[in-house]
């Protein structure tokens, strides 16, 4: 199936899942831009942007619009963790994680929706996590922010559906990136036992599903939460 080339923006597209996604989308023929904070990846249009700053977001969109045209596919992927048990978790940490993972999604989706409304077309993809629905000990801030994306995305699916704009969530399980690199071997072995496929995912395996959501093949998919977790979250 052929896919219409689109102007795509991937936040946090300079490494990890975001970079793999940006590369997969470029491979599929789209015009791909990525946000970065320190170093832009080679071969992709890099726009400097801290997603916790509304000004940065606005400027970054302006740059993408000038180079590639209005954003038609937005992949809100940038995210952070700051794990800590509840009793040790500071309000500052909670707010910081929610700001980077959830409020930032609001910032970029709001900015993108203006031109999507005008074009009567848009694809919003939010990278959440299996933890959004299962919860995770030590990840109350992260899980809350990722669960928030589900209600946020589904609200947009309802608000904007009549204008040809879809909004979906991808919920990865355990993916090999910098984010999970620090987990100890023992913890990792324990986690692997809970994954039916018995292994972790590569970033490319998440990228493929995001690429599907950006493609013409997903035109009737909206308000969905797509697990890409090797079976880890089944039932949630």
């Amino acid at each position: 199936m052929t896919t219409t080339p689109r102007s795509v923006l991937v936040t946090g597209g300079n490494r990890g899942i975001g970079l793999a996604t940006a590369r997969a989308l470029a491979e599929a023929g789209h015009r791909v831009a990525v946000t970065y904070r320190s170093q832009a990846p080679e071969g992709l249009l890099g726009v400097r942007c801290d997603v916790t700053s509304g000004e940065d977001v606005d400027r970054a969109f302006g740059e993408v619009e000038a180079e590639h045209g209005p954003v038609e596919v937005l992949v809100s992927n940038a995210g952070i963790t700051d794990d800590q048990l509840l009793l040790r978790m500071t309000e500052e940490s909670f707010s910081r994680v929610v700001d980077a993972n959830l409020t930032a999604a609001f910032r970029v989706a709001k900015r993108a929706s203006r031109s999507m409304l005008r074009a009567r077309f848009g694809r919003l993809v939010f990278v959440s996590s299996v933890v959004a629905l299962t919860g995770g000990a030590g990840q109350a801030n992260y899980a809350a922010s990722k669960a928030g994306l589900v209600g946020f995305s589904r609200s947009l699916a309802r608000e904007l559906g009549s204008r040809g704009i879809t909004s979906n969530v991808v919920a990865p399980g355990f993916v090999d990136t910098d984010m999970t690199a620090d987990l100890g071997d023992a913890r990792k072995a324990e986690l692997l036992k809970t994954i039916p496929l018995g292994r972790t995912a590569t970033a490319d395996e998440i990228a493929g599903v995001v690429a599907f959501l950006a493609s013409d093949a997903s035109s009737y998919v909206t308000g969905a939460v797509l697990p890409v977790d090797g079976g880890l979250g089944m039932g949630h």
Partner: protein
């Protein structure tokens, strides 16, 4: 710009964006009751006019606007 001049632009944009007939766009016309415009269409219409006139309208300013004439007055005030 005078309210009458603004009204002309507003009428043209309403025909385009809200897909209504020009003769149905009068100062006393209500967006919701007469034109049956839904909330999202109203947001789109507002966005369009913000671009057209190069202004930004706040929610506060818009809460009391229910008719075409009210909208024209608001824009006229903001552009003069």
């Amino acid at each position: 710009m005078s309210p009458a001049e603004v009204l002309d632009v507003l009428r043209a944009r309403a025909v385009e964006v809200l897909e209504v007939a020009a003769e149905d766009v009068q100062p006393e016309t209500s967006f919701v009751e007469d034109l049956q415009v839904d909330s999202l269409s109203l947001v789109e219409f507002t966005m369009d006019l913000e671009d057209e006139f190069g202004i930004e309208l706040s929610e506060d300013e818009l809460t009391d606007v229910h008719t075409i004439g009210g909208f024209a007055d608001l824009i006229s005030r903001r552009t003069s």
